[in-house]
Amino acid sequence: MSGDVLIQILPSVLLEGLLLGFVYAMIALGYTMVYGVLGLINFAHSEVFMIGAVTGAEVYRHLLPHVGNPYLLLAISITTAAAVSGGTAMAIERLAYRPLRRRGNTNRLVPLITAIGISFFLQDLVRLIEGMWHNEFFVNYPSTPALERTFQITEMLSIQMKAIIVITVSLAMLVGLQLLVTRTRLGKAMRAVAQDAHTASLMGINPDQIISRTFLIGGALGGVAGVLFGVLYTKVDPFVGFLPGIRAFTAAVLGGIGSIPGAMLGGILLGQLETSAGVYLPLLTDGNIGTEYKDIFGFLILVLFLLFRPQGILGRKEGEKL
């Protein structure tokens, strides 16, 4: 492979990495926010993402004949998916994690195993519903010419309308979340609960309510990510959450779990690593190392971080809790 081609394709590889990175970042936020307030790794979050993706697809394809404007249609899908995913995340917290917390269970393994159990439950629940409804388990995002319109920037770089939408929506979400956490009373309360739930409750904050809202916001972001993922890659099914979920979790750890800017940074970094490795590994090794090894790099970096900077890029060292 000549060096010219490698450089020529670089901008488009970076663009694809960025798109994937934004999706990962939005999922990673769900992991990191919940970890921030509860110290719990909510493995069911990948299913919250999946539910968003499937809901969005169902809304999209059922309203397609009735709503002419594809942008409006997408907006409706995203909103519905965000509401359903946020609601699911809140319900998970209310029905599973809160009762465990009330029991005063201090063993961290218990909620973790619960999360994995919920994850399986939700996968099969969606599979059951989809199976009964359509007698098939996957859902397509129907293609619309408007979203697939391609702008040719240079010979090797083109950008699709849907990519522009993904970037815009993700940026809006990420900035919005940052403002919410740093500028509003709710954000302040969330940070207070994350710091010390007990003391926060002495200041008139209801930790249960804040935790519930954290799940709502994290879940809604996951749902939006699900729709964007579906729009980008066209097919979703009840098992679609697993790989993006595990990678987004990696991104959250990479960025520093518990840190919101860290999750964004980690997501974009991982998306870039995965895409670049997937394209350049086979090209540079003349096909001897296939694109299937792309994950090695992301996870290698994760291992290095865990060894030398376990708190992640932007995370803080966890102080001794008294």
């Binding site: 488009s12 590889v13 697939e148 997937g278 694109t291």
Partner: protein, 384 residues
Amino acid sequence: MRIPSIIITLLLALTFTTRADNQVIRIATCCPLSGAQAGLGEYIKLGAQMAVEGAQPRFAELGFNLQLFPQDDQATPDVGVAVANRLVNDASVLGVVGHFNSGVAIPASEVYKDYHLAMVSPANTNPKVTDRRYANVSRICGRDDVQGPVGAEFAVNELKAQRIFIVQDKTAYGQGVAEAFRDKAKALGANIVGFTGTEEKSNFSTIVRLIQVHKPDLVYLGGIYDQAGVLVKQMREKGIEAVFMGPDAFDSSEFVKIAQDASAGTIYTTVAGPIDQFPAAKDFASNFEAQFHRAPESFAPYAYDAANVVIAALEAAIRANNGARPSRQAVCTAIRAVTMDGITGKIAFDAKGDRLTSDYYIVKLETASYPGKAIKVISSAPPQ
């Protein structure tokens, strides 16, 4: 000590009542009935169901209650092995029709082998399935080491493909057929510009980018329709016009549903011909449609034939055993001795368990609709 003795009596009574179950003979089907590949697996179950229901009166006359015992292996090797372990421990199971995935059939058949449980596969194309020469494993479809080369010959000689990019799904099936395709295409003088694996199900952006860089005139995917549909859709979206080609696991109406317009022009080789290729399958097709309200697809006629092979072997073994229930071993031996005219053609097995001659089809989806048209049929004996 009165109570325990009552319990023992009750238990004894129970064992005697279950004795009547002795006359139940079950034929299990093993295939994915849930998950992404259920679309193909379902037809294996339904095809076998037709055969079993057809044979039930004959078995009733012999004094046996023949039943279908459908199992879901979820297209996953460990689930397949768990199912296999359950089946070998159920004495009423005397034959297995399945599995669907070679990667599942190979480990599962290791379990069957230890218990001499006969497995007749309607769909496993990986050479290793029969190359291990297990006496209990047979198949009625073709092999990937013929299917891959048949596809490669078509691609190079008739489609005049010069630059070929190959993707495989890293399963025993996908990788096996992709490698067979690659080796033959190379031998015929084509340039293999890329060979890569992927476990992705939805995001193929890196592969599409690689394809764009290498500018192949043909892309071959050794994989299953749920990946194939998405890959070809994303390729076409990026303006790649290379011919898209693959093996028999593309053969599902779901492929068209996933890829939509992008499915038009796709070419695949298959070991299971479209139903209109089999004149003897006319009755089967109309009965199938009457019973299940859909046309039989992909491996349904093969599952029907596979189940009928097991049924014929069971009948022969029962007769040889003077009308009594045969041993599992006797069923295995009887299967290898079966010669019959199935709806997919003449069925007889060689010493390894391969069918003496199998047909390989090249099918093209002229438009974005299923089923496609068989544009070439090649009959071939299995390599020895």
